[in-house]
């Protein structure tokens, strides 16, 4: 890449133009009535969630199936601090606390899991984390208000615009952080760990520390999204907050776009949202079947994602990552 400063300049211009477009778009249309503005808001959330998974799974090779746990923690931290009066509406401090809460859990849970469990077992352990937290929230008494969940008075809602811009800001900051990490010595360590843990540690990389770092950063941004979601839906319960969708969708989007790549997940987010919308428009009844089939086809036959068609790099990374290894049998 370094010997292609021109290409890099083009990429930067495209990125800036896109961000510029997204910034002015809701100002040009009737944002409250625009379905596209809502879809873009959703897309920004998924960009962050996707990269939050991608940094640990795609870069460092540590596949988490527990992102919904961090999303849920973000939801609940925001709902609970708001109910307690500690935080206001769209309060940046509450959002940061939500991210931090998710990050702390990632460290506490990640230390034993990442130190002891490899591959499939780490994935299963994180999947368990989501379930444990869901059940805990269900039985949390007046603290989490059990199955009924926490309701927040929705009369503060005025416009979708603040949500849209906050989601955009979080996704841009996430992308920027990932870019700097991927191009720094940290990124080098993460990829080395993914490629060969034994060689990485024999060459001086403290592998546990870097795995935790990637996992925790991913949890932090996922928690931020959970927080914004709490402000958006005004009602937090266990099925919404710890919904498996929050982990399945980002994974699909990353795989579709290109796991372990920087731009791929963004392409994956927009393509998958577009595809699902199209399917929904054409055949509302068949939706779940179509999307299910779509997902299976993509993971089987497009393991390098859309990115591989743009860059020509086909490294079959997905089939080398632990819970996806079985997919290689189909080739």
């Amino acid at each position: 890449m370094l010997q292609e400063p021109l290409k890099r300049k083009t990429h930067l211009s495209i990125a800036l133009a896109l961000v510029f477009f997204f910034v002015i778009y809701p100002l040009l249309v009737d944002a409250e009535a625009s379905y596209l503005v809502f879809l873009f808001y959703t897309a920004f959330m998924y960009v962050t969630l996707s990269q939050g998974w991608n940094i640990a799974a795609g870069y460092a090779g540590q596949v988490s199936l527990g992102q919904h746990a961090f999303f849920g923690i973000g939801c609940y931290v925001t709902a609970i601090t708001w109910r307690a009066g500690t935080a206001g509406y769209l309060d940046p401090l509450a959002m940061l606390m939500s991210g931090a809460g998710a990050a702390v859990v990632a460290i506490v849970v990640g230390l034993p899991l990442l130190a002891k469990l490899r591959g499939d077992y780490f994935a299963l352990g994180t999947l368990g984390l989501g379930e444990i937290l869901r059940v805990a929230a269900l039985n949390g008494g007046s603290f989490t208000e059990g199955a009924a969940g926490i309701s927040i008075p929705s009369d503060v809602y005025q416009s979708i615009k603040p949500y849209y811009f906050i989601a955009l800001l979080i996704s841009v900051l996430t992308m920027l952080s990932l870019w700097f990490i991927a191009h720094s010595r940290i990124g080098l360590a993460l990829v080395a760990i993914r490629e060969d843990e034994t060689a990485a540690s024999a060459n001086g990389i403290p592998i546990l520390r870097y795995k935790i770092l990637a996992f925790t950063l991913g949890a932090f941004v996922t928690g931020l999204c959970g927080s914004l979601n709490a402000y958006f839906v005004f009602h937090i319960d266990t099925t919404g907050a710890f919904n498996l969708n929050w982990v399945i969708m980002p994974i699909l989007m990353v795989i579709l776009g290109g796991v372990g790549t920087f731009v791929g997940p963004v392409l994956g987010v927009f393509s998958l949202i577009a595809a699902f919308e199209l399917i929904r428009l054409l055949t509302p009844q068949l939706h779940p079947i179509f999307s299910g089939a779509f997902i299976i086809l993509v993971t089987l036959f497009l393991p390098d994602g859309i990115m591989s068609y743009l860059t020509g790099h086909k490294n079959r990374l997905l089939h080398k990552l632990s819970p996806f290894k079985w997919l290689a049998l189909n080739k």
């Binding site: 080098l188 080395a192 490629e195 024999a202 060459n203 001086g204």
Partner: protein, 247 residues
Amino acid sequence: MKNNGKDVVLRLEKITKSFGGLMALNGVDLSVEQGQIVGLIGPNGAGKTTLFNVVTSLYKPDKGDVYLAGKKITGKPSHQLCHLGISRTFQLVKTFLSLTAFKNVLIGAIYGHGMRGRQAREEALEALRLVGLADKKEVVTAHMTLSDRRLLEVARALAAKPLITLVDEPMAGLNPSEIINMLKVIKRARNERNVAILWVEHKVDAIFRLCDRVAVLDYGRKIAEGKPEEIAQNKKVIEAYLGKPPP
């Protein structure tokens, strides 16, 4: 610690390691001095790789201790051992396949030794030059030949600026001209870096040509140690390799 006036870099004391009922290493003593090339030979399954794995903390020894420059380092985590001055290569090559040759070696310089920025990049280039891969620095490792990957592992191990580097069968799977090249590289590494090398190899003639000393393992025990010409004559060694002659 001195031994014949030279510093002892690595000293193993009665290393014992078993897997279930199998004694892979049985009270092995060994020491390597600064700038020395020590060969470690022995039949398949003798415990050579296991010894490397114990020294680099992939395995914890059941008994015995490892000393680096006089300090006990038994059981310290692998990455710390690399910082302290032990680097290695692997019998089954372990390069970072999706990264370029340059970045592989850069990892050695940055994480193995703790260099930063330009210094790290220069050291990486220097190590690539030493093994003769300077012009392939931008090649992604997945596209390299086995011989080049083995050279790359040596370069990565050297970029960590170790006191001692452990090389595990660097010639396995190479053709005759690649073997000659590897021989030159190992010699050059010792001469230019004054690094100690502990070298496991089945190509015994190469070991005898280059090593200052040779140790022989058989069924987890050290059965002989000495100058190459002594080892070549040693009856126990010949027996270990060829089996006992009929009485």
